[in-house]
């Protein structure tokens, strides 16, 4: 059961059972973005309230497995109140922990410095997911949606919903 305990750490199950920042925000002024995992049909909806370059507030709804839901909950707790550049840096660090390297290929495709999970606080508990490659998509579902939402806000896209 060791690998399994590594995947389902107590902190993960806690966020799964009691998700933080659950709900919706009025749109506008908030921006709404959806994430979708075609493998399992899991859906996540994130409401982003960005003011003066700071992610002032966010809410998360949708449904999914324990890994996708707890990752979304931990993410919401970690990024709330951060300046956008720090949010993006955290996303890069998290994806690095998930063994996803997004450094541009023109930089020689060098693998970026492996992140020390200890520096990620609670999020470090999700490190065990790396041993279950299929579940990496679950763990990164909310993070990809978050980046998409920030990109849309930066590009000035106005949410239609």
């Amino acid at each position: 059961m060791n690998e399994l305990e590594d995947l389902y750490r107590e902190i993960i199950l806690d966020h799964y059972r009691s998700p933080r920042n659950r709900g919706e925000l009025p749109v506008p002024p908030a921006h709404r973005v959806e994430g979708f995992n075609p493998l399992c049909g899991d859906e996540i909806v994130i409401y982003l309230d960005v003011r003066d370059g700071i992610l002032a507030d966010l809410r998360i709804s949708g449904r999914g497995c324990s890994i996708s839901q707890s990752s979304a909950s931990m993410m919401s707790a970690a990024v709330k109140g951060l300046p956008l550049d720090e949010v993006r840096q955290l996303v890069r660090s998290f994806k690095s922990m998930m063994a996803i390297d997004e450094s541009p290929a023109e930089e020689g495709g060098a693998v970026s410095e492996p992140i020390d999970p200890a520096t990620l606080g609670e999020l470090g508990a999700l490190q065990g997911v790396v041993k279950f490659p299929v579940r990496i998509k679950c763990a990164t579902l909310a993070w990809n949606a978050l980046v998409q939402g920030l990109d849309e806000i930066t590009a000035g896209v106005v949410a239609s919903a």
């Binding site: 199950l13 399992c40 449904r63």
Partner: protein, 412 residues
């Protein structure tokens, strides 16, 4: 009453079910996704490659002649297995059942369907018998209708005449890959033919488990896939009535499917090669024939009752052990229910269920099973699915029931 299966002996025929490199035996409950292969199938392909391989329908030398003979013999073996009246002309080898259905949609559909024409499918179709028709809807503007799912998890066949009015094709699965529902084809075929429609049956989930008699059922197209019936991946088949195949244009173009080619045009080959462009999956066809031989050796008349007894045992044990389980499928029935068991386990997500079960060697599928419209109809995004075959027995079900207790403890 035929003799029951000796499952312990059968398991020994399947190398993967007796793997020595894992610390617990593999409890394989995902045969609806893909079955395992007996050693005889692996040997048939090895022997072919080691002794006989050459391209088919081309060489005049001895091994090329022998390879051609074995490929065509495999076609007849597969055709006879499903009761095809003229297997040598009417069985087209494809990559899988998906390609077989796409062949019908592409070749028959594009020739015979026009804007506004009606194609009727069902609400329980696998994406393989849904998306090709949605593509034709986009391309040609055909209308799609659906036989609804009833509250008993069987198709609601009460209004077929109205549903089929004006239809050109009715396409249904013979057995649901999600619910374990075995569809009653006879009234569908009768109503479709009365309406002037041809009938396509997706037999991927039925052919491995029950005797199919195409001559008796009266269907017009029948698709199957090799890897769900103990055969290799990369081989499937389309059976169709000869006159339908004759009237259809080719599917893929290339070598083998032509009689003559000039710089101005081509003349298609005879059946069935008209629909088999390029070098076919020769070893896979031979492997599939070996799988059919194995199934016939065991006997489908024994496999069906074995699966029925086992699914009944599973449904009883699961329901007795867990109040939190909700099964999406019809009541036990020797004819109208297969060995596919989809369920919700409380609020635990199917991915989590399958992940924890894997730790005790229990392989089940979690997800939407390539049937997203059906998931929506059931009101879930995914289910956990255990599916049975001839090499499963009560010990596999017991392992599933025990494994679910770990799931319950972890997530409660």
């Amino acid at each position: 009453m035929s003799e029951p299966l000796d499952v312990q002996a059968l398991k020994k025929d399947f190398p993967l079910l007796s793997r020595a490199d894992v610390d617990h035996p593999l409890i394989y409950l995902d045969s609806a996704a893909s079955a395992q292969r007996p050693q005889s199938v692996l040997d048939a392909m090895d022997v072919y490659y080691a002794t006989t391989h050459a391209n088919v329908h081309r060489g005049v030398y001895a091994i090329a002649e022998e390879a051609t003979r074995q490929l065509e013999a495999a076609r007849v073996t597969v055709g006879r297995f499903i009761g095809a009246p003229h297997p040598q002309h009417e069985v087209v080898f494809t990559k899988n059942a998906t390609e077989a259905i796409n062949l019908v949609a592409f070749a028959w559909g594009r020739k015979n369907l026009h804007p506004g024409d009606v194609v009727v499918l069902s609400e329980i179709e696998h994406h393989a018998n849904l998306v090709p028709w949605l593509m034709l809807k986009d391309e040609l503007g055909i209308e799609l209708r659906f036989i609804p799912l009833g509250g008993d998890f069987h198709l609601d066949l009460s209004r077929l005449d109205a549903l089929f009015a004006g239809a050109k094709l009715v396409g249904v699965t013979a057995a649901s890959n999600v619910l374990g529902t075995v569809v009653d084809l006879a009234p569908i075929v009768a109503a479709a033919h009365a309406a002037g429609a041809v009938v396509l049956v997706d037999g991927a989930q039925l052919a491995p488990h029950r005797r199919v008699d195409l001559a008796a059922t009266g269907v017009d197209f029948f698709a199957l896939t090799g890897h769900k019936m103990l055969g290799p991946t990369g081989i499937g088949a389309l059976w169709a009535r000869e006159e339908l195949l004759e009237a259809m244009p080719p599917f893929l173009g290339g070598g083998e499917m032509i009689r003559d080619v000039t710089l101005d045009g081509f003349t298609p080959n005879e059946l069935p090669w008209k629909f088999e462009a390029g070098t076919p999956p020769i070893a896979e066809a031979i492997g599939l024939a070996a799988a059919v031989d194995y199934l016939e050796g065991v006997g489908l008349e024994r496999i069906g009752p074995h699966e029925t007894a086992l699914v009944n045992y599973a449904l009883e044990r699961l329901s007795a052990a867990y109040d939190m389980i909700r099964i999406f499928g019809p009541a036990p029935d020797p004819v109208r229910r297969s060995g596919v068991i989809s369920f919700a386990f409380g609020e635990v997500h199917p991915h989590d269920v399958a992940q924890v079960l894997d730790q005790s060697g229990v392989c089940v599928r979690a997800g939407h099973h390539c049937a997203k419209p059906l998931m929506r109809a059931l009101g879930v995004s995914a289910t956990t699915r255990a599916s049975l075959y001839l090499y499963n027995d009560e010990s596999d079900i017991d392992a599933l029931v025990d494994g679910l207790d770990s799931v319950r403890k972890l997530f409660s």
